[in-house]
C-alpha cells in the first residue's frame, strides 16, 4: 500500500524523477568509469614488465631509467659500455640478461636493438611470454621483429623491408637507408609498449651505426673521411658484410640498458648495491617494482585529481536530487495533508520522501552500472587497440562496490533533509491544506 503510493507518486513526476535518475546515473558512471580505467591503467602499467629482477642503465634517476628502458618514454642520458655489460652478465647470481639499445626510430616507432634472449626471457603481465603471431625471431643480423601495433598501423608483414632512422622523432633527417632490415616476425598483441616497438638485432644496429660513423651523409668532410677509410664493399653492403662491420665495431659498442633475471630473488638488493657502486663506470640498477611504485607516487596527484573531480560530479548529481525533492515538497504538502487526514502517520510521510530519495539513488546507480558494462562491452576493443588498455568485464571490485555503497548511503542521507522538512510541515500543518 505504502510502496504502491510511493511508486505511483514517482510515476506521476516521471519527467523530473527521470532527469534526477539520469543525472545521478551519469555521475556514478563517471565515477565508476574513472575508477575502472584508473585501476586497469595501473594494472596495465604494472604488467608492462614481469619477471625482471633488475634493470641496469647508465647513472640516472631510477624513474627516468624505468621510463626510457621499459616504457620507451624519453631518452637515456648515457650508455653502458659493452665490456661492462659482459663483465656484469657473467656474475654467478645472474640467470639471464637482455641487453637493449634504444635511440633509433622507424616512422615514429622506437627501434630497439636486442638479442634473441629477449624473446626467450622477457615477460609481461603475470609471467606471460612474448608470442609471435607471424614468422619467427631473429636468425640473421638484419632481421627485425615488429610489435603488433607497428605491423598493423604501417601495414607490414613478414618479408617487408624497413629503414631505421637516427633519433626518435617522427621525421628524422638521418636515415640509415643503405642498411635496411627485413621483417621476419610479428609479435602477438601484449597491450604494452612492446606493441609499438621495432625489435632489431644489436649487431644490425651496430652495422647501421658503423656505416654512418663520420657524421651526416651529406657532410662533405665526413664523406671524404669515409671514402678514405672504408672498403669499396661498404658502399653496397650485403648481410655478411654488415656482420663484419658489426664485429669490427664490437669493442666500442654501447647499449642503453640491460634487464637482469636472477637465480634467486634474494640477491637482488646486494647486486643492486654492487652495480650502483660499480667502480669503473657510473651505473644505476633499479628494482622495477619499487620504481613503478615511485612512478605511481608521481602520477598519484593527477589520479587523485581525476577521482576528486568525479566525486564532485557525484555530489553535484545528488545535490540535483536534493533540489528536485525540495521543489516537489511545496506541491506535495497538500498531498501529505490529505494522507494525514485519512490516518497516515507523520512517519509515513517521512518514509515516503526518504524512500523516494533512496529509490532515485538506487535507480541511478543501477542505470550507471548497466551503462558501464554496456559501454565496456562496446568500447573494449577500441580501448585496447587505441590506448593499449585492457578493461575487463569482470565483477565490480570490492573497491567499486564500496564506492557505490557510499553513493547509496549519501543518497539516503540527502533524502533525510527533505523528509525531515515534510515531517515538520505535516506536524505543523496538520490537516490544513496550504496552497
Amino acid at each position: 500500500m505504502i510502496t504502491a503510493l510511493a511508486v505511483k507518486s514517482v510515476r506521476n513526476r516521471k519527467f523530473t524523477a527521470g532527469l534526477t535518475v539520469l543525472s545521478i546515473a551519469l555521475a556514478v558512471l563517471l565515477l565508476l568509469g574513472v575508477e575502472r580505467i584508473r585501476q586497469e591503467a595501473r594494472e596495465g602499467f604494472a604488467s608492462t614488465i614481469s619477471g625482471t629482477d633488475l634493470i641496469v642503465g647508465a647513472r640516472s634517476s631510477p624513474v627516468h631509467l624505468l621510463l626510457s628502458s621499459v616504457f620507451r618514454i624519453g631518452n637515456a642520458t648515457n650508455n653502458i659500455r659493452w665490456d661492462t655489460y659482459r663483465t656484469l652478465a657473467k656474475r654467478p647470481e645472474i640467470a639471464w640478461t637482455i641487453p637493449i639499445s634504444l635511440g633509433d626510430s622507424h616512422r615514429g616507432f622506437r627501434v630497439m636493438g636486442t638479442t634473441p634472449e629477449y624473446f626467450e626471457h622477457f615477460r609481461f603481465a603475470r609471467d606471460r611470454r612474448l608470442d609471435l603471431s607471424q614468422g619467427k625471431p631473429f636468425a640473421d643480423v638484419h632481421d627485425a621483429v615488429l610489435g603488433a601495433d607497428v605491423a598493423q598501423s604501417l601495414g607490414y608483414t613478414v618479408g617487408s623491408s624497413i629503414v631505421v632512422a637516427h633519433g626518435a622523432g617522427d621525421v628524422s633527417f638521418m636515415l640509415h637507408e643503405d642498411q635496411p632490415f627485413r621483417v621476419v616476425g610479428v609479435l602477438a598483441r601484449t597491450g604494452t609498449p612492446v606493441d609499438r616497438t621495432v625489435h632489431v638485432t644489436l649487431e644490425g644496429l651496430d652495422a647501421v651505426h658503423a656505416d654512418s660513423i663520420g657524421g651526416f651523409p651529406n657532410d662533405p668532410l665526413a664523406a671524404a673521411m669515409r671514402e678514405s677509410e672504408s672498403t669499396p664493399e661498404h658502399a653496397r653492403p650485403g648481410h655478411a658484410h654488415a656482420g663484419d662491420a658489426a664485429r669490427e665495431a664490437y669493442s666500442d659498442r654501447t647499449i642503453t640498458a640491460f634487464l637482469v633475471g636472477l637465480k634467486t630473488r634474494g640477491s637482488a638488493l646486494s647486486l643492486q648495491r654492487l652495480i650502483n657502486e660499480y667502480p669503473t663506470e657510473p651505473l644505476t640498477a633499479i628494482l622495477p617494482g619499487v620504481t613503478l611504485q615511485e612512478l605511481w607516487e608521481i602520477t598519484g596527484a593527477a589520479e587523485k585529481t581525476l577521482v576528486a573531480v568525479s566525486v564532485l560530479v557525484v555530489i553535484v548529481g545528488l545535490a540535483g536530487m536534493l533540489v528536485a525533492l525540495l521543489t516537489s515538497l511545496s506541491e506535495r504538502r497538500r498531498e501529505m495533508a490529505i494522507l494525514r487526514s485519512v490516518g497516515a502517520r507523520p512517519t509515513l510521510v517521512f518514509a515516503l520522501i526518504l524512500g523516494e530519495a533512496a529509490f532515485l539513488t538506487l535507480a541511478g546507480i543501477a542505470l550507471a552500472v548497466a551503462a558501464l558494462y554496456l559501454g565496456l562491452f562496446i568500447g573494449q576493443s577500441w580501448l585496447e587497440s587505441r590506448l593499449g588498455l585492457f578493461v575487463g568485464l569482470g565483477w565490480p571490485s570490492a573497491h567499486e562496490a564500496a564506492l557505490v555503497a557510499m553513493v547509496a548511503v549519501a543518497g539516503v542521507f540527502i533524502g533525510l533533509i527533505p523528509a525531515y522538512r515534510i515531517y515538520r510541515y505535516s506536524l505543523a500543518d496538520g490537516m490544513t491544506v496550504r496552497i
Binding site: R334, A337, I338, G343, R345, M431, V433
Partner: protein
C-alpha cells in the same frame, strides 16, 4: 457523557503559541449526538479550522478535554490519535481533496489502506472494498460517462468534492468533518451536494460537522452553531 454522544468538549482551550494566553479556541461546552447534522458558521480566521484539528486529533487541547466517541483525545498518543482518526473520522476539505496520481476509485479506497476497521466495514455486505467504493460513487452520481477512468485532475471541482465525500464516507466512520466543502461550488450544485451528503450520512448513521461561512445553508441542518457564540477566544487572536 452518553454513548450516543459523538463529540463532547468541555473547557477545551488551545493556543498555537502553546501558552494558552491568547487561545485560538476556548470552548466551554460543545456536544454533538450520533447522526446529528451540525452547521458551524463563522468567518475565516475565527479558529474553525483549529477546532476541526482538535476534533480530528491532529492537535490536542492544552486545557480541558476533547472527547470523540467517548475517548479523550488528549490522553491518546500521537500514533493512537492517527489510528483513531483513520478508524472513526472522515474528512472533506474545501478543495484539492484528491491525490493527483491516484485514480478516482483509488482515492476513495484510501482510508481502507490505513484502517482495518473501515476496510472491514466496507466489506460488510460481503463485497470488496472496490465494489463499496463504486457503490458510494454511484450514490454520489459519479459512476457514469467514463468519469471513473478520467485522471482526477481533469474532474470539475464539484466532481472532485463528490469523490472526496465518497472517500470520507467509505467504511462508515462515525464522524464526518467537512471544512467548507461547498465554497467553490455554485448555488445549485451546493444544495445538490449537501443533499447527497445528508443521504449518505443518514445511511451510515454518521454525525456531520459542516463548516461554512455561508449562513444561507444553515436551515438545511438539524442544528446551526454560530462559532463566535461558542468560542470565547476573541476572533483573529
Amino acid at each position: 457523557m452518553t454513548a450516543s454522544c459523538v463529540i463532547e468538549l468541555s473547557g477545551a482551550r488551545f493556543s498555537w503559541e502553546g501558552g494558552g494566553d491568547a487561545p485560538t479556541v476556548d470552548i466551554e461546552s460543545l456536544r454533538v449526538r450520533q447522526g446529528e447534522r451540525v452547521f458551524l458558521r463563522g468567518p475565516s480566521g475565527s479558529g474553525k479550522s483549529t477546532l476541526l484539528s482538535l476534533l480530528a486529533g491532529v492537535i490536542t487541547p492544552q486545557q480541558g478535554s476533547v472527547k470523540v466517541l467517548g475517548r479523550d483525545i488528549g490522553a491518546l498518543s500521537g500514533a493512537a490519535r492517527d489510528r483513531f482518526r483513520a478508524d472513526h473520522v472522515g474528512f472533506i476539505f474545501q478543495m484539492f481533496n484528491l491525490i493527483p496520481y491516484l485514480t478516482v476509485v483509488e482515492n476513495v479506497r484510501l482510508p481502507c489502506g490505513f484502517s482495518d476497521r473501515r476496510r472491514a466495514n466496507a466489506q460488510r455486505g460481503g463485497c470488496s472494498v472496490e465494489a463499496e467504493a463504486l457503490r458510494l460513487l454511484e450514490h454520489l452520481d459519479m459512476a457514469h460517462n467514463g468519469l471513473l477512468k478520467r485522471p482526477v485532475t481533469e474532474l470539475s471541482v464539484g466532481q472532485q468534492q463528490r469523490v472526496a465525500a465518497a472517500r470520507a464516507l467509505i467504511g462508515a466512520p462515525e464522524l464526518i468533518i467537512a471544512d467548507e466543502p461547498t465554497s467553490s461550488l455554485d448555488a445549485d450544485r451546493r444544495t445538490a451536494f449537501i443533499d447527497l451528503l445528508f443521504q449518505e450520512c443518514a445511511r451510515e448513521q454518521a454525525a456531520l460537522i459542516f463548516v461554512s461561512h455561508d449562513a444561507s445553508l444553515a436551515g438545511l441542518f438539524d442544528r446551526a452553531i454560530e462559532f463566535a457564540e461558542v468560542n470565547r477566544a476573541p476572533a483573529g487572536a
